[in-house]
Amino acid sequence: MSKHVVNPDLCTACTVCVAHCPVAEVVREYRGPKLSGPASERLRLLSPQDDASLDFCSNCKNCDISCPSGVPISTLNMKARAKMWEGKPEPQGRKMMAHGEQMGKLLARFPGAASIVNLGMGLGKSLGMMDMVGISSKAPLPSYASTTFYKQFKSFKQKSFDKKVVFYPGCTINFNQPEIGMDVVKVLQANGYEVLVDEEFVCCGSPLVVGGYLGEANENARKNTSLMNKWRAKGYPVITACTSCGLMLKQEYQELFHHEGMDKNAENIYDIMEFLSMLDDEDKLNTNFGQVNDTMLYHAPCHLRAQGMGLPALDVLSLIPGYRIENAAAGCCGMSGSYGMQANKREISLKVGEKLFNRIRQAGVKSVVSDCGTCRLQIGDGAKVQAIHPVQIVARAYAAK
């Protein structure tokens, strides 16, 4: 059903992707996206090939963004890597990072468990236990919130409106940064939308794909697609506030899996900032903003840039009085999901992010805005600044009125 056929022969071997790959830029051991992706895929179609170089791909999508021929290079890499890892021993760290949702769900069941685990992760890092399982003790790891987004949402009194949207928080917002999800709700309320959630939704599957668990990711895709079908039938748009979830649900599902309705759902899923920007296009955005006297830098997540919607956060934030924001335009932050959290990738990840960190330091800002959770972790750690989601600024602007 998907028209997005993964065809390596679309590649003209022009090398644009090699020039734009942030990992190839800092690691000469990586053969680069052209060779590990479409070039090797032609050989892999003939017989299985092991390519140690595949391990370097961070799935950041800069190859796909730069490709003039629409080759899903990173997805070719992810599929080949999963196949290469099949039946081989699973490193514990890889398994843990691919299954963050399980940990989140487990902790949510027991009051106080989150803080114990946060403490435990801290201890694990300082004792070098994380390194032993392949997770970097030097990387910033997401800490778990004491109350999940879904729980907070339940106790939030909403105004009822005819216009309804379904919010898909994803794991990061639900388990780690529920305050962002609550700001999404408040901002949508301020625009006359009632927010619904669906606790049946599961992890989008993005961490599973990079971890090589394509079968499990496919299961998640099946489940989420059938729920999305239901909401689409009701005519409710689905909102995401994590650009990697958005990319997975809209694009990577279509590249990797085959479930009825995926392509139609892709038309019904909106990033929160895109949604607000579209309201503004129709002059329907509530622009009753108070002053936010601040100057910040914006970092565009690669997984947003890959979606072909421009940078809607900049469009919306530029409407706020007193507020100044400039695009850092300094490339990939290097984290790319859990890539930069892996013990053997931390150094690469920081090297990739150096340009961005330097840009932030030069700008002398205290806060950086970015739509992606793991970008924010990396920016906080690499540039030692506060990193926030753009919707938090919008919420602040409404609150300032």
Binding site: T12, H20, S66, P68, Q251, D263, G310
Partner: protein
């Protein structure tokens, strides 16, 4: 996305330059780009017009413009606009600290990676061929581990071209060991680093001296600045001249960085992965173009549109066994009627390739016209490789047509009509 004054479709040189010129003159511009554009592979020098039919070189670039064959874009861009465009580009590049040199009155014969010469017009300072011509001894830099460049071959061929010069090579040990095959671009990245530059310069120094010029692959830094080039030149104590080489194009990547930096400063909105494939027409005018990829269709409204989506390589024009098509506005394509006649079977002969000249017919305002010459959409201007009537590869005219047609389109839009 709120309505723009101008939407430019395409992120190659013609699209980026049209956007820059329009924005410089106060227009609100949005660029829709799919892929990183042809600059990364196309080379960062500006050819204007090198060869006439029969492979006869023109004496100067402007001679080439004046004598462009019938139907060639230069015949309706016009000599005066070509001159203005070149000046505008040079001024813009210079203001950014990455000046181009050369003029319409002098052909620059730059060395290639195989030691031949190719005619061009505007080059970065790293390709100052006057230095090569003035030198009595050329030393070709032989960098260990670098693929796509054979110093002995380049030296041998340069020896045939310059029998009165002494030609030598100098070996430079691998700058950084391990890893994949080294491209010129990888090397240029290494030479962005001051410590590696010192190492590199030290290896060249033994051959430096009076009347010496080093010929190097395009490796003297990846950025649109002369920091790496000036540093190395100073340390070596003799001039270096970069030659034209294969993709990924280091000089092209510098030019792209230059253009993107200009656009950012001018507040141009640049949208990546925008797969433009449709349009909305009201009352005979285009009011919007639409994109579609994995998600929903997106609409980009504007008063004026610049079509800079490229030819077959850029996928602005696509073809199969039977049909050839322009993908955004479905404009009529000028092409030989029989597909069999698209190709000159003698690939390296003295004649142009008909398929290379396939494109869109326009009037003097760069508006697309039908077979009868009637304007199809008055607020669409066609630039760069979308235009019919020139074989950039044969003529050596690619970036020249791109720059000058882009300048003309943007100027017409700024002036609000006829030039």
């Amino acid at each position: 996305m709120k309505k723009s004054d101008v939407v430019v479709i395409g992120g190659g040189l013609s699209g980026l330059f049209a956007a820059a010129v329009a924005a410089q003159n106060g227009k609100k511009v949005t660029v829709l780009s799919y892929g990183a554009g042809s600059l990364t592979i196309g080379g960062g020098i500006v050819d204007i017009m090198g060869y006439a039919d029969g492979n006869v070189p023109f004496a100067t670039p402007i001679e080439g413009v004046k004598n462009a064959p019938e139907g060639h874009p230069y015949t309706f861009i016009g000599e005066d606009t070509v001159k203005e465009a070149v000046e505008a580009f040079k001024k813009m590049a210079s203001a950014e600290g990455y000046a181009y040199q050369g003029s319409l009155d002098e052909m620059q014969w730059i060395p290639t990676a195989v030691g031949t010469l190719k005619p061009t017009a505007l080059v970065p300072r790293t390709m100052d061929v006057a230095k090569m011509e003035a030198a009595k001894k050329l030393v070709v830099v032989d960098l260990a581990g670098l693929k796509d460049f054979s110093a002995p071959m380049a030296a041998k061929n340069l020896g045939l071209l310059f029998p009165n010069k002494t030609i030598e090579t100098v070996k430079v040990p691998e700058l950084e060991k391990s890893g994949r095959d080294m491209t010129a671009f990888d090397t240029a990245r290494l030479l962005d680093r001051a410590d590696i530059r010192t190492m590199f310069a030290a290896a060249l120094k033994s051959k430096a001296g009076k009347d010496v010029c080093f010929i190097v692959p395009p490796i003297l830094g990846t950025h649109a600045s002369y920091v790496a080039f000036d540093d190395i030149t100073k340390q070596v104590g003799a001039p270096l001249v970069e030659c034209a080489a294969v993709a990924p194009s280091v000089t092209g990547i510098r030019l792209r960085e230059l253009m993107l930096s200009i656009l950012r400063k001018q507040g141009v909105v640049f949208i990546e992965k925008a797969n433009v494939c449709g349009n909305i027409v009201e009352n005979g005018k285009v009011v919007a173009v639409t994109t579609k990829d994995f998600g929903r269709q997106r609409t980009y409204r504007a008063d004026e549109f610049v079509l800079a989506s490229g030819g077959f390589y850029g996928a602005g024009i696509t073809a199969d066994q039977e049909n050839v098509k322009e993908v955004v506005f479905d404009l009529p394509i000028v092409a030989p009627a029989r597909v069999e006649d698209w190709t000159n079977a003698k690939m390296f002969s003295d004649a142009k390739q008909p398929f290379a000249m396939i494109g869109i017919a326009v009037n003097e305002q760069l508006q697309p016209v039908d077979a009868e010459g009637a304007v199809i959409y008055p607020n669409v201007r066609v630039v760069g490789r979308n235009l019919a009537g020139y074989d950039f590869c044969f003529e050596k005219s690619g970036n020249g047509v791109a720059l000058t047609s882009a300048y003309k389109a943007a100027s017409l839009i700024v002036k609000g009509g006829k030039a």
